[in-house]
């Protein structure tokens, strides 16, 4: 696992599978993060250590479905057992979320295993995405369905009004180290001096502390630093804000479900390969100009001013977020699509 988002997605997927009656084994190399991410655990999900290449797996222990997530390579011993099985599991390669056309073309395609201990088997590429032709996104409810949500999610899903915040805007920040962070904090201070900024633990807190010091922002700028939050706590945080700045995949989808204006920092890649992905997302969501400008500035390599938070911009931004959520509410969730996919290829 790389950043918390990988485990976040896998944990949510595991819990949603379990809620629909499936038995789930979640193999992870470092499960310590679950102590704060999911202290309550999840009925039906068994967390297991990542097997080594030498670990011998009994054929009787093989599941019906193996989901290989986010580029993790299955241990060789595990592959060998799969390769020898009379009825191998359905092998799904869960890819990264993408709104790009190439991902749509790859989604659902077979990937013959041409070498190694699992040679001769087939894995299937499955791409989370926004399009009906993609793998969809994880739904908000406990089992991934829109109609089975917690109370705070219910309130969030019922919110359908756009209004300029009458109190100081509440903004949450969950980011990597965006180059534009310091400039944005200064903009916030100059535009709406009473803004309340809530920052998540880890890299975001460190980045904000560094930026506040570097830009010498006065102590009246209110910043709350959070401890690490569990998934339900994070979802409640997003629902209670007026603007959510999120990073990676898991929090992006949760921010969409929260239905508030949001700004996405995409995972930066070598040689700028993340830019087409961000632009594909903005195009696929029909982002208005202010949202596009904000995203380009927030993801820029150099400090770049974001659009001002005016009532007009706010209305467009919030409307975009609500429209996107409504669109996803009308479509099937990832888990439903995954179940259908596995049934068709089993």
């Amino acid at each position: 696992m790389d950043n918390h988002g990988d485990l976040g997605v896998c944990w949510r997927l595991s819990c949603q599978l379990a809620a629909r009656g499936h038995q789930v084994h979640l193999h992870v190399d470092d499960a310590s993060v679950l102590q704060w991410m999911a202290p309550q655990g999840c009925a039906g999900v068994q967390v297991m250590n990542w097997p080594t290449d030498d670990t011998v797996i009994n054929a009787s222990a093989l599941p019906d479905v193996v989901i290989e997530a986010f580029g993790c390579e299955l241990p060789l011993g595990y592959q060998a057992t799969m390769g020898r099985a009379s009825t191998p599991p359905v092998w799904v390669n869960l890819e990264y979320f993408s709104a790009e056309d190439a991902a749509l073309r790859n989604h659902g395609l077979p990937s013959p295993v041409m070498s190694g201990p699992a040679k001769g088997l087939t894995k299937w590429f499955f791409y989370p995405g926004l399009s009906p032709q993609s793998g969809g996104v994880l739904g908000p409810g406990v089992d991934g369905r829109v109609n089975s949500v917690h109370e705070h999610e219910q309130l969030s899903l019922q919110r359908d009004k756009i209004s300029w915040p009458t109190k100081p805007p509440r903004i949450s920040l969950f980011c990597y180290e965006p180059a534009s962070l310091g400039l944005w904090l200064q903009q916030l201070h100059e535009q709406t001096p009473a803004v309340h900024l809530t920052v998540t633990a880890g890299r975001a807190t460190q980045a904000v502390r560094h930026a506040l010091q570097a830009w010498q922002l006065p102590p009246s700028f209110e910043v709350s630093e959070l401890p690490y939050l569990s998934h339900p706590e994070f979802d409640q945080l997003l629902a209670a804000q007026d603007l959510n700045l999120v990073r990676g995949e898991d929090s992006l989808v949760r921010a969409i479900w929260a239905g508030q204006a949001f700004l996405w920092q995409i995972y930066p890649q070598d040689d700028g390969a993340h830019w087409p992905k961000l632009q594909a997302f903005l195009k696929a969501t029909q982002a208005p100009t202010v949202v596009v400008q904000a995203h380009l500035a927030w993801n820029a390599d150099q400090p770049t001013a974001l659009p001002a938070l005016t009532p007009a911009h706010w209305a467009q931004w919030s409307a975009w977020a609500l429209t996107l959520r409504r669109r996803l509410q009308a479509e099937t969730d990832l888990l439903t699509r995954l179940e259908s996919f596995v049934a068709a290829h089993g």
Binding site: G71, Y96, E100, A102, A103, N106, L109, P110, P112, Q269
Partner: protein, 171 residues
């Protein structure tokens, strides 16, 4: 090989995934049965290499649906239209390429890594930027589109990387 079926790769599409990963989508055609299929691989997936026979040939003519190639001993080999792949983009009489054989049958053509072709259409040349990074659309005689630096003119001969369809230099 795709299972037990020998396949020829008709088209490939390389794309970047998340977290610095990449994938390659391939359109495959069976050499012995009448079916096509599409598959996808991670860019670092390993495959057993099949050793195929290859022979240096020159392009002779088109006899629909076959493209006919000839070796130095005047033996002719026919490659199906559908199996010509990207080589059709650069095809011209007398051009050299390697014809690839499987089980004695010509199945595809491998181009050299670069070819020289004349620009048959482009917008007028513009002096100024000599870095070669500012590009404009152009066509070669097959109608294939490439991008060339703005100083390239119609009638110029250019070297093209056949693996990426990118302009290399003016010759």
């Amino acid at each position: 090989m795709h299972g037990k079926d020998p396949m020829v790769v008709l088209k490939t599409e390389y794309s970047r995934g998340g977290r610095n990963s990449a994938t390659v989508r391939m359109k495959l055609k069976s050499l012995i049965a009448n079916f096509n299929t599409e598959v996808v691989f991670k860019a670092d997936d390993k495959m057993d290499q099949i050793v195929l026979d290859k022979k240096e040939c020159t392009y002779s003519y088109f006899a629909d649906p076959m493209y006919v190639w000839m070796d130095t001993e005047f033996n002719q080999y026919e490659v199906e239209n559908e199996n010509m792949g990207d080589s059709l983009n650069y095809l011209e009489d007398g051009m050299s390429a390697e014809v690839v054989f499987y089980d004695g049958k010509a199945i595809s053509v491998e181009l050299p890594t670069s070819v020289v072709r004349e620009i048959t259409w482009t917008e007028p040349a513009v002096k100024g930027d000599t870095s070669g990074k500012v590009l404009k659309p152009a066509k070669i005689s097959t109608g294939f589109d490439i991008n060339v630096p703005i100083f390239v003119a119609q009638g110029d001969k250019v070297e093209i990387d056949t693996r990426t369809a990118e302009y290399r230099k003016r010759v």
